[in-house]
């Protein structure tokens, strides 16, 4: 039996623990596991009841269309965001009651902060960023798809496999308890003999490989697939940030894959890379891990900066201020981000001269970011600003992100870091850059580009409610943590003995309730918008009086993106067409379009990788071997496929495009005053002054 099921038996579920030892701690764990099971059953029931299996298979799971793949990335991000936020709220609730104890056990609390961190970085922020890049970049550069559409699907499959394993760990067994960075020797075989670190390893490794493949794909797409005339200095800024983030992904993801696999060798094969004895050096783990970990945060925040660049220019109806300086700042950040990793372990024991070198590099990286903030403010200066949802997020970002950045400069000083490292001050700092910096930008970006993908806008009022709740919720939850950190409260503590921490902990706990409401408002916003998609529809495709190429096509964007590949003559290509004449002219002739055929390769690799990861975690060797062989076989079978593309006849494109052009010519555009009214059908009437 043990050969068949490995280390699995009936006692590993939280339900068994709740029956054996009833109490708040086990009930919380069993409740979370129950939610996952219920959610899965409800999803299966929903798909069956509405007969959606066929469309799901045909239109989504087997599609190699970059927009659909991007949407699926974002769905993973939002689902995992719900779990991550819920975990954060449970932790805040626990700490609010944690004077001399607290409802959860120390081990359960450790599992919570470990999964919360792993999820938020690798399965919320990363999928949202990669999803948005997937959706937007080919549209902005005038391409029909990614350079490697099927590899794109494989990247998604690998990321989904990692996310699936994290979800499984909630129901079967326990997750790792050493934080999202999983430092050995604690996570080694001697101190953590269970399945926890293995769950972590087999979630992180596929996601890391998938992200690296995404990086290769994005970089090649931007280098090789730009429309004629789209020179580097004409690329929209979001594409620039995507290019830099893509190159960083290629170089930053391999270190984490390598360090996780080395840890796996330690755990499974008795190696001694990071053990206490026999020549192991656990300090090298921290070194390799942060060689990935630090660039990773800039991989996430650079595309966020790209979103802010697009949003600030569009919603103030002005040319982006200081384009060359923004490009140079982006490239500078991409390089300097690789020279600061040691600031994550200033206190590990190296000499002061090593510390200060990395401290100075850390302070320098704040300079290009500061340049960017000034550029965005100058973009808004004397613009005709509309306070739409993305602009509300931008306002919150301006104020809060600068605070977060400044505390980062404070932490860059090793002598100060010695005082506040491992306290809640640090927790406050990185939430202060990641939530206003990355999460706000992703929510703003989803709101901004949603109509382009689905053909209808998101509900403005609900969007604004959500935005304000996120901003206020963030402030109430995380700003008190700075004070708690300075008062000396260590991070990751499941209980504390100083009653002075209680008042601010209660404030932070109340903030967590506001963040839960923000998450609910965000989901309500999506739900309400879907119900009202008729009145919110923008079929002509340009709801915000946009400036870049993606707005020059119908909404939802057709599978082939551009009826005819555009010739680009200016930086804000669509804006130049709108101000210089008629952007809606029928082309002289259409050509056949070659599109990637649907394939199940990504899905097969996803299932095989999930199975292999689960099997490795539980030492079910026959299944692990089958999963790995399955991955290899799937790739080999695909290599023999000769019919990988299909041709869309020019006549069909002409009919589709012609019908849209005709509708555009008979429609009346709306001015910016009517932007958030049902009159907005996605055709902009020129009413804003053109600033040089």
């Amino acid at each position: 039996m043990s050969g068949l099921f490995g280390h699995l038996d009936w006692t590993v579920t939280p339900f068994a623990a709740a029956i054996a030892d009833p109490g708040t701690n086990t009930f919380v764990a069993a409740g979370a596991a129950g939610l996952v099971v219920l959610g899965a059953v409800a999803l299966l029931g929903f798909l069956t009841w509405f007969r959606l299996w066929g469309p799901l298979w045909r239109d989504w799971l087997t599609s190699a269309d970059h927009k659909k793949i991007g949407v699926m990335y974002c769905v993973i991000g939002i689902v995992m965001l719900a779990r991550g936020v819920a975990e954060g709220a449970v932790m805040r609730a626990h700490q609010a009651m944690a004077l001399n104890g607290g409802p959860l056990s120390a081990e359960h609390f450790a599992e919570l902060f470990s999964t919360h961190g792993t999820i938020m970085i690798l399965f919320v922020a990363a999928p949202l960023v990669i999803g948005l890049i997937n959706i937007v970049v080919p549209l902005q550069i005038g391409a029909r798809d990614m350079a490697f559409p099927v590899m794109n699907q494989v990247s998604l499959g690998l990321t989904a496999a990692g996310a699936a394993l994290l979800m499984i760990s909630l129901v079967i067994g326990r997750f790792e308890t050493g934080g999202w960075s999983a430092y050995p020797p604690y996570t080694g075989r001697v101190f953590s003999p269970g399945e926890g670190p293995d769950y972590w390893i087999w979630s992180v490794v596929p996601a890391g490989i998938g992200s690296m493949l995404s990086g290769i794909n994005f970089a090649v797409t931007i280098y090789k697939c730009r429309a004629p005339g789209m020179t580097y200095m004409r690329m929209p800024l979001f594409t620039w940030t995507a290019l830099c983030a893509a190159i960083m992904l290629v170089y930053a993801m391999p270190p984490v894959t390598v360090s996780s696999l080395m840890l796996a060798l330690d755990r499974y094969a008795g190696f001694h890379f990071f053990t206490n004895d026999l020549g192991g050096n656990m300090m090298n783990y921290a070194n390799i891990f942060w060689m990935f970990g630090h660039p990773e945060v800039y991989i996430l925040v650079l595309p966020a900066y790209g979103v802010w660049s697009e949003v600030s220019a569009t919603f103030s109806a002005k040319t982006l201020y200081g384009y060359p300086s923004l490009v140079i700042a982006t490239m500078a950040i991409a390089v300097i981000a690789f020279t600061v990793w040691l600031h994550h372990f200033f206190t590990m024991g190296q000499s002061a001269s090593v510390n200060i070198a990395f401290g100075i590099a850390t302070m320098i990286i704040a300079v290009p970011t500061g340049v960017k903030v000034y550029d965005w403010m100058a973009t808004l200066w004397r613009g005709r600003i509309r306070m739409t949802v993305p602009m509300v997020y931008l306002t919150g970002f301006f104020i809060l992100f600068v605070i977060g950045g400044l505390t980062g400069v404070i932490l860059a000083n090793p002598t100060i870091d010695y005082q506040v490292h491992n306290t809640l001050f640090l927790v406050a700092h990185f939430h202060n850059v990641l939530i206003p910096g990355v999460l706000f930008a992703m929510l703003a970006g989803i709101h901004y580009w949603f109509p382009k993908v689905f053909g209808f806008r998101l509900h403005e009022t609900w969007g604004k409610r959500a935005a304000w709740l996120w901003i206020v919720g963030f402030c109430v939850t995380f700003l008190p943590l700075y004070a708690l950190g300075l008062m000396g409260m260590p991070r990751r503590s499941s209980s504390f003995a100083d009653p002075a921490f209680v008042p601010l902990q209660l404030v932070a706990g109340a903030g967590a309730v506001i963040i839960l409401l923000a998450l609910a408002a965000t989901l309500v916003c999506y739900g309400v918008s879907i119900r009202q998609r008729g009145t919110l529809a923008v079929p002509f495709g340009d709801p915000w009086d946009g400036r870049t190429l993606e707005w020059a096509m119908p909404a939802p964007a057709p599978e082939w993106n551009f009826a005819v590949i555009p010739a680009v003559a200016a930086r804000d290509a669509f804006w130049a067409e709108k101000t210089g004449g008629d952007p809606y002219v029928a082309p002289e002739r259409y050509e056949d379009i070659e599109l990637p055929r649907p394939t199940a390769l990504g899905l097969v690799i996803c299932v095989a990788t999930t199975a292999a990861g689960f099997a490795l975690t539980w030492h079910i060797w026959w299944l692990a071997l089958s999963g790995l062989v399955g991955i290899g076989l799937a790739v080999m079978v695909r290599a023999f496929a000769t019919q990988t593309t299909r041709v869309l006849p020019a006549a069909e494109v002409a009919v589709h495009h012609g019908r849209w052009l005709e509708a555009v010519h008979t429609a009346r555009g709306i001015t910016r005053d009517a932007e958030d009214s049902p009159a907005n059908r996605g055709l902009a009437a020129p009413d804003t002054e053109v600033t040089p």
């Binding site: 280098y223 690789f338 020279t339 040691l342 190296q350 000499s351 090593v354």
Partner: protein, 99 residues
Amino acid sequence: MTEIDRDRGRYLIGAGLSALLTILAFAAVALGLSRGVALGIIGVTAVAQVIVQLRCFLHIDFSRQKREDLQLILFSLLLLAIMAGGTLWILANLAQRMM
């Protein structure tokens, strides 16, 4: 001289130079030079051979159309230097302080 002839010539030069540099490296060991000198010669010939192969086989040069490839190679070198150099510096420093 046709394009094919030029290509063939370049591949032959590349193959010849690679062979020569390989022989030099082996010769440094076979001739029984001192350890330091031998390691130096092997290092120099290795780097030289990388450059020869990039130039002759992968056609990387300073021309405009190859600039992107060259930039990416140089960027890779820069990052490898930062990562490898940084690791050696940090771990050597830690090891020294563990004494």
